[in-house]
């Protein structure tokens, strides 16, 4: 009765699924994309992966377990993308940082499910310790990048590297989330908006842009 032909994205080989964990992640991501991290249900994800509702419990303790797994994968991918944009400081720091900001926006737009899970899980159950770690790691990367900016701290006042990082992060996050929610119907390109804003901000810090 059961379909034994392998489907795209899944790899069922008989009674055992083969790669159920990955299939569940894919299903969850799809559902989160459609209904948000709060609208997603474990039963539905199982249905999506053509598996009984009890099956996910072989791989996750909880509904929340799957959610946290996705958030963590999201953070890892996120960090990788930012890292790539930074390109190990090969470019001059200012335009490298603008590339990072662009990568931030691009991630939020292209990986809406990940992004929504990473930043929209404030109220959902207990938050994983690894979730927090992954988030901090991403921020640490940003701090490292900012540290490489040719800033004269004697002149710019009390701005620490950490503060500057947070400010750039806030700017990026704000741009990303505002556009993710289509808050304004003005057709402004978020990418262009953020690049420009980071440029202005860095100029305000006294950097030649």
């Amino acid at each position: 009765m059961r379909d034994r032909s392998p489907e795209p994205g899944f790899c069922r080989r008989g009674y055992h699924h083969g790669n159920l964990k990955e299939a569940l992640r894919a299903a969850a991501r799809q559902l989160i994309l459609e209904k948000g991290p709060h609208g997603f249900s474990l039963v539905e994800a199982a249905r999506f992966a053509k598996v009984s509702p009890a099956a996910p419990y072989r791989h996750y303790k909880n509904r929340n377990g799957l959610l946290m797994d996705i958030a963590q994968q999201g953070f890892n991918l996120f960090a990788k993308r930012l890292q790539q944009a930074w390109a190990n400081g090969t470019l001059d720091p200012v335009s490298a940082l603008q590339r990072v900001a662009e990568a931030y926006i691009a991630f939020a737009r292209q990986e809406k499910a990940y992004y929504a899970t990473m930043f929209g899980t404030a109220y959902s159950g207990e938050i994983n310790e690894q979730f927090r770690e992954s988030g901090n790691y991403a921020f640490q990367m940003l701090t490292d990048m900012v540290a490489q900016l040719p800033l004269d701290f004697s002149g710019t006042g009390p701005n620490s590297i950490e503060e500057i990082s947070m400010q750039i992060w806030a700017l990026s996050h704000g741009a990303a989330t505002l556009f993710a929610q289509n808050v304004s119907e003005k057709n402004i390109d978020p990418l262009e908006l953020l690049t420009s804003a980071v440029g202005i901000y860095l100029k305000g810090l006294g950097l030649k842009v």
Copy 2:
């Protein structure tokens, strides 16, 4: 059997509640504060207001109706607070704008329930038309303020007033949401962070801060 003594915040006078609509709003705000806009339930709000689960339907079409009502009230209060901070341009524009940014953060911190409903309802049901209107009105206010900045547009490149407004909004929104979610455990004051960032940004635009 029923408690007839008026409770703080409620005004029950016999069989009829007296001010159920307001009581439901208060209950919902409390619940949203605890569990977020997605965790809130109409039945629980009714219980909170000491009323049967069917009673809310006298005042709202839907669970979503109450949610949208709260979002709208939130936007109105929000606009009022920003307006007050702006103080009709009595102060010099730059510090007035910084006051607005501060008011933004203050609102997000003090009115978490409102803020979460206003900006965290992306995936919940159909979005009210008035919801969108209220949001646009708040943005329009910001644009009006930015228009009063003594900017030399001949020199600053292609930045339109609208773009600048969006950028300041993104910065504020980012700072507010990052701290609302306690994303970083660094003990940086969000208010100070944003004020400083707006200052740097305006300086980058060529304004004397």
